[in-house]
């Protein structure tokens, strides 16, 4: 890399060389496996927190369970007669819930006791929405669920009783995404009306509303691991990072011509880049001067999202540069998940494909 000559007036700010180094140190993913089991499009993918299991859900109403490392299919069964839009695995890796077009959500054990029946009965059924349930998310303590629906509302459920705890009359359009902050105190809803709202779980009150400058429908939103920021994806092919407290957009992330998201919601996931095999030990260094252990993440933050041209785009969050584009799908990618260790990305797309693609890095 050529070092730019110093500018005489000093007003022009060149990005520091470290910022440019981001993409070059990023991992490279390659297509490793194609997992086939569904008879229609794969609509949702999740890894369990323990990293052992991958669950895929399809428009065919089936759930399939895969060994996350080997890609081997462990089991599968039909959970709903209609399509499944989203799934969530409890943080303690005990339970799995679904969000379906039949307006209900079901809860199954993730690792069930061996039983002769092929189609296990759900442990709980969550009935309350009047339109297809689009998104579902377990609270960090696994005791609550939040669902977002086409009926423009979001519901917080008491998992143990299987009953509605709070009804959030959330939006003026379908609620496409729901999620929790790390402490389980706040719920976020993102809607086709272009707004993201934050809710206080204990009182059900709206705490804050965020919009975007083009009023594009919000197709996906989530808190980052640091609850000060949130990531949103709008149907204007744009990802944004907001500061929750100031409502300010801190990063606007795009990739014109490469990343297209205008019609179909697809998750965008922030994750820490895995250590590179070369064994860079920077992260292990301990600052001898300070007594407080300030342990920043050792590796850069990456974002992955699926595009409507079948591509999967990986950005470096800090520099907003594209690190890698994964090509393999023929149609819109609607499901993406990242393994907790950051080494496996899985994706699913709309028909004619019916398979899960598994991308790895060494």
């Amino acid at each position: 890399m050529a070092i730019p000559p110093p500018l005489p007036n000093g007003t022009h700010s060149e990005p520091p060389p470290e910022a440019e180094a981001g993409p070059s140190t990023a991992p490279r993913y390659h297509l490793s496996q194609t997992l086939s089991a569904h008879s229609r499009a794969v609509t949702a993918l999740r890894f369990s927190n323990d990293g052992e299991t991958l669950v895929s859900a399809g428009a065919d109403g089936y759930l399939h369970f895969w060994n996350a490392e080997s890609g081997e299919c462990i089991r599968g069964f039909r959970a709903h007669k209609t399509g499944i839009n989203d799934i969530s695995i409890s943080p303690d890796s005990l339970y799995l819930t679904t969000a379906s077009d039949d307006c209900t959500s079901l809860l199954f054990p993730l690792y069930p006791p061996p039983s002769p029946a092929d189609e296990p009965l759900p442990l709980k059924t969550f009935t309350g929405h009047t339109a297809p349930v689009l998104s579902i998310s377990f609270s960090p303590k696994s005791n609550l669920l939040v669902t977002g629906s086409f009926d423009e509302s979001a519901i917080i459920w008491d998992v143990r009783r299987g009953k509605v705890l709070r009804n959030l009359p959330a939006h003026a359009d379908a609620v496409w995404c729901v999620c929790w902050d790390a402490e389980g105190a706040m719920v976020m809803t993102g809607s086709g009306d272009g707004l993201i709202r934050l809710w206080d779980v204990s009182s059900g009150q709206c705490l804050k509303t965020l919009d975007n400058d083009t009023n594009s429908p919000v197709s996906y939103a989530s808190f980052t691991p640091s609850s000060y920021f949130l990531l949103s994806s709008t149907l204007s092919s744009t990802l944004r990072i907001y500061n929750i407290h100031t409502s300010k957009v801190l990063k606007t992330i795009q990739a014109p011509g490469v990343y297209i998201s205008e019609k179909y919601p697809c998750p965008a996931i922030i994750f820490e880049a895995p250590d590179l095999p070369s064994g860079k030990e920077d992260g292990m260094e301990i600052d001898g001067n300070s007594n407080i252990d300030v342990k920043g993440p050792a590796n850069p933050a990456l974002i992955v999202a699926g595009s409507e041209n079948g591509k999967i785009v990986i950005w470096d969050l800090q520099s907003k540069n594209v690190c890698q584009v994964l090509q393999g799908h023929l149609n819109t990618v609607v499901a993406v998940a990242v393994h907790p260790n950051g080494r496996i990305i899985v994706s699913g797309s709309l028909e004619p494909e019916r398979s899960v693609k598994l991308w790895r890095t060494n």
Binding site: P109, P140, R160, L198, D200, L207, L250, K251
Partner: protein, 480 residues
């Protein structure tokens, strides 16, 4: 999250929001961690301990082991273990990470060592009924139990030792017969660890407060606080204030120097009209308010004072049954109180909806104000300039991956470095020496407590649910 709440909202509760049907005689919120105040432990008159989920108002664990009333409860630092002290002369330590169902093994950072199928981890037997008992704030293998016979016992599960605390100062050990006599006259009525875990504070029946080093078990200080027996002691979350309840029916607030443990009496609260005895005392989560659960025979009242100004702010008036115990939520204006019937009342404040939160960029105003237009507010900026400016603004580094650690209550840390005010030239050598001695002693206690740590190492611990079990009918219907 806390920053997004209305900063002008009322900071103390107002009315009973809901009532949990129970048989309780003691209650305690889990005080620290990301899920502080999400659980309420209730010790029953029948010996059953219930863990309630405060959000759902449902029981997440029933712990059966005691045969008599459970009067004392304590949460371990990351909430994995719960201690219950009972009048059946036992203390039981429960491991809340265990689910009874054989196929449910939560895969969390807490589940490393557990292969047991019962949540009852230890049972410690004593010679007399146990009035209360607490975990050491840094290690749940160290337990401090107060027996109803007036003994305080320090149990160390690491080496199996049990030591009855005595009023002994390091250098005085062999001398003084009169000392012996004085000791006989008074016995210890209550004992707690300081929130950082470096000292034990005990209250005696003759109104003394003894500060004891847990590692050496020598009394470091004796402070005369009252002329009658000290019944209860409680610290605020920061460990800088202590409240005592004495038989003379007065509540006393003392400030505690975190290094030297020097106590300064601040205030005295009393109900002069009714001469109310106090059944429960405490601070609000932020330490701004002081709570006293009144021991009226015919009423269920909680008194709330402002700690700073000593003004009586509110008397919560509940149902007719007398109050037995109460506790203030660690982060919210919520109080839980128990009535003689055993029911748990949850007191809350209702805050009005903030309508401005529904629209981005809106702000609620008290009255009309003149709007000052910015000089360039309606200027049209060149698009390329705008794009460049935006790009520059977005260049800043942000750390999206590190979870926040300052947004939830954590126990205060022991002081292991001499505070800078002790290094000032105006400080005499003598004071500095005292400071250094205390720093060393706190360090020693910390090393002692951190030896052979427990398995409660995961800060994000929570209680997993067993959804295979059938729910009782009343439970199924919920409360509302």
């Amino acid at each position: 999250m806390q920053q997004l709440l209305n900063p002008f909202a009322q900071k103390y509760p107002e009315a009973v929001d809901s009532t949990l049907s129970s048989q309780g005689v003691s209650i305690l919120f889990n005080p620290y961690g990301p899920f502080a105040g999400h659980y309420l432990a209730v010790g029953g008159s029948d010996g059953i301990v219930e863990i309630w989920d405060v959000e759902t108002r449902g029981i997440v664990r029933l712990l059966e082991g005691h045969v008599k009333a459970v009067g004392g409860l304590s949460w371990s630092r990351n909430n994995r273990y719960l201690l219950s002290a009972s009048l059946d002369s036992t203390v039981i330590i429960w491991d809340l990470s265990i689910l009874i169902h054989p196929h449910l093994q939560p895969k969390t950072p807490a589940s490393s060592s557990s292969s047991s199928s019962t949540s009852r981890l230890h049972t410690i037997r004593f010679d007399a009924p146990v009035a209360s008992a607490v975990f050491h704030p840094r290690n749940s293998k160290i337990i401090l139990a107060t027996l109803t016979c007036g003994e305080v016992v320090l149990v160390d599960l690491r080496d199996g030792s049990r030591n009855v605390l005595e009023d002994v100062v390091e250098d005085e050990e062999e001398k003084a017969e009169d000392d012996d006599e004085r000791r006989k006259k008074s016995s210890m009525a209550c004992a707690v660890f300081s929130p950082c875990g470096t000292r034990i504070y005990t209250g005696t029946t003759n109104g003394m407060l003894l500060i004891i080093d847990p590692a050496t078990r020598y009394v470091l200080q004796r402070v005369k606080v009252a002329t009658s027996a000290i019944r209860q002691l409680r610290f605020d979350a920061s460990g800088q204030n202590i409240i005592t309840s004495a038989s003379d029916r007065a509540l006393r607030i003392l400030s505690v120097d975190p290094l030297t443990s020097t106590l300064t009496p601040l205030h005295r609260f009393q109900d002069l009209v009714n001469r109310t005895p106090w059944h429960a005392i405490g601070f609000s989560g932020d330490g701004e308010y002081v709570m006293g659960g009144a021991g009226h025979k015919m009423a269920h009242n909680v008194f709330i004072w402002d700690r700073e100004s000593t003004v009586l702010i509110k008397v919560l008036e509940g149902p007719k049954e007398p109050l037995i115990d109460c506790d203030w939520h660690p982060t919210r204006p919520v109080i839980a109180s128990i009535a003689t019937s055993g029911d748990v009342h949850i007191w809350q404040t209702s805050s009005p909806d903030n309508w401005a939160a529904f629209a981005p960029g809106f702000e609620e105003l008290e009255e009309n104000i003149e709007y000052d237009e910015r000089e360039d507010e309606f200027d049209i900026e060149d698009e390329t300039d705008l794009a460049r400016r935006k790009n520059l603004e977005e260049d800043l580094l942000i750390d999206v991956l590190s979870p926040p650690t300052d947004s939830y209550p954590l126990p205060p840390k022991p002081i292991i470095h001499l505070p800078t005010q002790y290094l000032a030239p105006t400080i005499s050598d003598e004071i500095r020496l005292v400071g250094e001695r205390n720093v060393k002693s706190q360090k020693d206690v910390m090393d002692w407590a951190d030896r052979e740590p427990d398995d409660d190492t995961w800060e994000g611990f929570y209680v997993s649910l067993d959804l295979h079990e059938e729910l009782g009918e009343d439970e199924e219907n919920g409360l509302d």
